[in-house]
Symmetry: none
DNA sequence: CATGAATGAGGGTTCATTCAT
DNA sequence: AATGAATGAACCCTCATTCAT
């Protein structure tokens, strides 16, 4: 009898597919797109090389897909952190927190996004650009709103959003690479949030910190 | 400029060497480390492939050397912008200005540093780390000084320096990639400086901008 | 038709087998032996790839078998056209007619035989050789007979048979590839028959054509 | 000093290139396009695999080039045999002779042309078609001329030319594969010429042979 | 010094074939 | 019987590197 294609097998297949994708993220973030070979990936996933091409059309497509999925995930997570609040201070704080949390939980993924194999594949440059743009826009929207309501002084919100994006990336990268002490993350979140909010002019008096 | 002919004489001799290094920066920043081939470089420099290996031990070494020299150049330029002033506001403003100026003058070089072939070569990761570290320290020193003098509120200056570094990178990258209007650069410098200074709490009242 | 289900019963059982063989002829003649993949075949037959290996030991064996069966079919058809007649002129004419008819009815099959994946598989060369040989012999027998009876002048009948075989192949190939006009086939049959019969010296006076 | 690129080296390079092409013809005609690997070719030429790609862009291009060159050579040789004469009988005889001579002198090449890797590469099918067409046209021209002058009876010269082409191919193929006796070639030339000329109706009385 | 022909390890990808289900 | 996921040898091709000239 033709074997049960529905139940167990399907799940198993999905599991293997997922395992391979995780292995791929790992390898890509460790070596970058070009240096990572398909052979590396299948070894990490402990499957034969043919299996890779059974699940994915080719290396580039997988990488692009991984990058996009990963980027979407991060973008939405941060977006959620931001959009659930009303006050700018909370929006920033929660956005930063979401970002840091994900970075700590999935350092590999964040690494892939921030320092992945840029320049390697033309189509990736575009994807990377989109990702940066999405992150910037996440920050810019609340800024525009706050500006409208006179909560922050007149300023180029686009540029401010760029600065926020860059600041977050760098702080998080440092947090991941130099894991100082135990609970450094909460401190980083607070420091970063304050820096950003002050930078935006959203805080009353400059002395109002810790 | 980086990678000039060391010092004074041996002009002729180093003509080819220089040509190759300039070509290499160009090619590396366009294609990334892996995608750039030695053939690409020698063709751009209009020399034979054998000549490459007369002047440089191999592709990796050249890239590392180029990266280092380029990084040093940028670091020193920004350092100079910062260290020549006394007041924190001026230090930040001039540091940012130096960075932006170089980015506009040598976009290729800055691209190479910011999104170069990371992860490609193990030894490069270390180099990149050093570069980021150097940039962060440039900003941290004046912060520590200002903190000592009570010019800015209590804060983690290391983290603030990270944020500044990241903010600069992102704003500059955007400036290079989306060249909006004519004299966007001065505006970017001002915006960025204000954001940073406010973020540090170095400005009196939050309404004191433009 | 070739590759029918051997004999009588096991209809259902062989439905897939037959489908695959027909698909295989199609695919092989379109792409040639090497370029045709087992996947192509099973897709065309709408069965799973495992099914292929249940019915056939491997790709090569199937191809060989197909080639042989196909060749036998063509050989016997032409043979029948020839052997049913008494006069040389009719033997030639009917042989040619049979050949052309089959070519028009099953162009795929004839293509496979004439320009199939030669050289691809060592064992195929032998098979192809046999097929050519069989075709040549079909023609040679009536020639020998005619020679015995003094109906054609002294000549090397083997060589003449070779020439006939080649002439038929080429004319038919052209008929299939450049389908000029409607009823070109009858004209081709007549032209070819006359050419051959004259070539053999079987016709009285050279002016006795159309 | 930059080494002498003009004299000795150039010749040596050309020699190697030629050697590789000859090796390629050999391998291609033995195994067919698909089954022949680049490794086969470089092994036959006793060079490294990289050398292949230094001289030729890729396998397909080389094969196409080889096929074309080879086809042109054969076509022109036969053409020359035909066009140098005035009488149809001599044109046919010399054309056939040229063809046979080349086949005996370069059996590999002729094999490649007649049973080369057809169906393998789309672009090759076109090339093969061109070659067949050229051969057919070589024969058709003198036929048209002879028809105009009333030297042969009314007939479809195109079809006759196709028959001639096919007849030649088959006889020659058999001559190469079954080398019977010593000087079989002259006999084959004579047999074939007579068959063709009679087939065309160019000979007075059918009994006028050997 | 300079050249570029020559090398071959290694990368991405295909595809005939197997076997647990 | 039938399926299709899994395998891995082998293919084509690239490119860093060497070395005779």
């Amino acid at each position: 009898m033709p074997y049960r294609t529905s139940d167990k097998m399907r799940r198993k297949k999905d599991a293997k597919r997922t395992a391979m994708m995780q292995a791929a993220v790992q390898v890509f973030s460790e070596k970058g797109y070009h240096a990572a070979t398909v052979r590396d990936i299948v070894q990490a996933a402990d499957v034969a090389i043919g299996t890779f091409y059974f699940y994915f059309p080719d290396k580039e497509t997988l990488f692009l897909y991984l990058y996009e999925e990963t980027a979407d995930f991060l973008v939405q997570a941060v977006q959620q952190g931001v959009s659930g609040r009303a006050k700018l201070t909370e929006q920033i704080a929660h956005g930063v927190q979401s970002y840091v949390n994900i970075a700590l939980y999935e350092p590999t993924v964040v690494f892939l996004l921030l320092v992945g194999g840029v320049g390697a594949v033309p189509s990736l440059s575009a994807k990377r650009e989109q990702f940066r743009e999405a992150m910037i826009r996440i920050w810019q929207r609340p800024l525009d709103h706050a500006l409208d309501q006179g909560l922050i002084p007149t300023q180029n919100t686009r540029r401010a959003a760029e600065a926020i994006t860059g600041a977050c990336d760098e702080v998080i990268l440092n947090l991941l690479q130099n894991p100082r002490g135990e609970n450094e993350a909460p401190a980083a979140i607070k420091d970063l949030s304050f820096f950003i909010l002050r930078g935006l002019g959203a805080l009353g008096s400059p002395a109002a910190d810790k």
